[in-house]
């Protein structure tokens, strides 16, 4: 099971949980498993075509999947996957 780090704006979908463990060999499978466990969350990360939204980034370990194999990026059990949305607050 890989660990997915849930950013604060999306924790309302995970009952406040910061880390969620889900099964999957690729980022796509992980996000589907995440949606299965916490319905509604995937829509905030991916658009209607299934692609990761342009104001969200997904990192496997410390690498941005846009520079790897996008949603087909392989994930191993010991990987930490981070979902990092743009936030604007400065005040």
């Amino acid at each position: 099971m890989a660990t997915v780090r849930i950013p604060p704006p999306l924790r309302k979908y995970t009952g406040g949980a910061e880390d969620v463990e889900v099964q999957g060999g690729t980022v796509r499978e992980l996000l589907d498993a995440l949606e299965g466990a916490h319905p509604g969350i995937k829509e905030r990360i991916c658009d209607d075509s299934g692609a990761v939204r342009r104001f969200v980034n997904v990192f496997v370990a410390d690498e941005d999947i846009r520079f790897l194999d996008e949603l087909d990026t392989a994930v191993s059990d010991k990987d930490e996957v981070s979902i990092i949305p743009a936030i604007a607050g400065g005040r």
Partner: protein, 392 residues
Amino acid sequence: MATFNEVISRVKSEIQEIGVDETHARLDAAKGDAAKAPVIVDVRERDEYEQGFIGGAEWIPRGFLELKIEDVAPERDRPVILYCAGGVRSALAARSLVEMGYSDVSSMAGGFRAWKNKGLAFDRPRVLSPEQLKRYSRHIMLPEVGEEGQGKLLDAKVLFLGAGGLGSPSALYLAAAGVGTIGIVDDDVVDESNLQRQVIHNRERLGMPKAESARKTLQLLNSDVNVITHETRLDSSNIMEILSQYDMVVDGADNFPTRYLLNDAALKLGKPVVHASIFRFEGQVTTFLPDEGPCYRCLYPEPPPAGMAPSCQEAGVLGVLPGMIGTIQANEALKLILGVGKSLSGRFLVIDALGTNYRQLKLRKDPKCVVCSKPREEIELIDYEAFCSVDL
């Protein structure tokens, strides 16, 4: 018993002396190769040094030479050239460095007087006042800052977007550090709910424009700082004119339109941006260096539509979080001004105040980036429509 003249002629026969022309030629030959260049050390006293010195020289008065030489020449085989006013003190100093084990030490015969008489170029140091020497003494003690670095800070011009949660700590620390010109863009007024985290303001300032309140606080802290207030909201009509007056930007804006506009304008003008944003218990911070590293749009190509992204007051923020993140921004700005250390360019720090931990993620320059892959003159500024999501 030996007279002074006997001592100095014996010392000069034992050490290596080189002329002004050879010194000049050796410094010239090593230009662009800092590792091989000889270390040139000015051993004169302050009042002499202030009148002018050889460019690139380290200034260590004779009395401190043995104590400080290892800061500028840690390797004993590094060539060292010493000079004073006429070549006597530097000869005695050379003997002392030979005793310390330096294997390639020269004293410049004739000293700075001979250098100047030859008509060779020299620099004049920025002269700090006695008050400044005292105020910044803890900086000046650091070899990485010193009087030269403090001079860079006093000459630096930094623009702060927002005198809010992030701008408060970062502007306070940069003003304390002696950054000579601080610009503040903010069109808001101080409200009681700001004081939980915006430590640059106080109860007496309620209702006052934030930029003005920040100016008062910073000038009470350090009268060396010239604070310029911009009580306006940035848009495509004013950002170029405002940004062009500064060396870099510390971004503590509170909305997406300003952040994207800033990114594009800063790329157009070639200005570094120290970026941070905060939300509840989490902060993000990185540095965007034009041309060298990724930009904000390499990371997030487009702003989120209204309703998709959180922002604004409804989100809440732990009071100390902007302090933690804002001081990291201040540190980034100081390093950029001083040209020391390693910037956060290409690295994205995500700091979680609840768990007190942080993640460091790699940021890459996107060769297909919609903005930074373009030549500067082709970048067009966009005014995105302001929105404030309350869907949290």
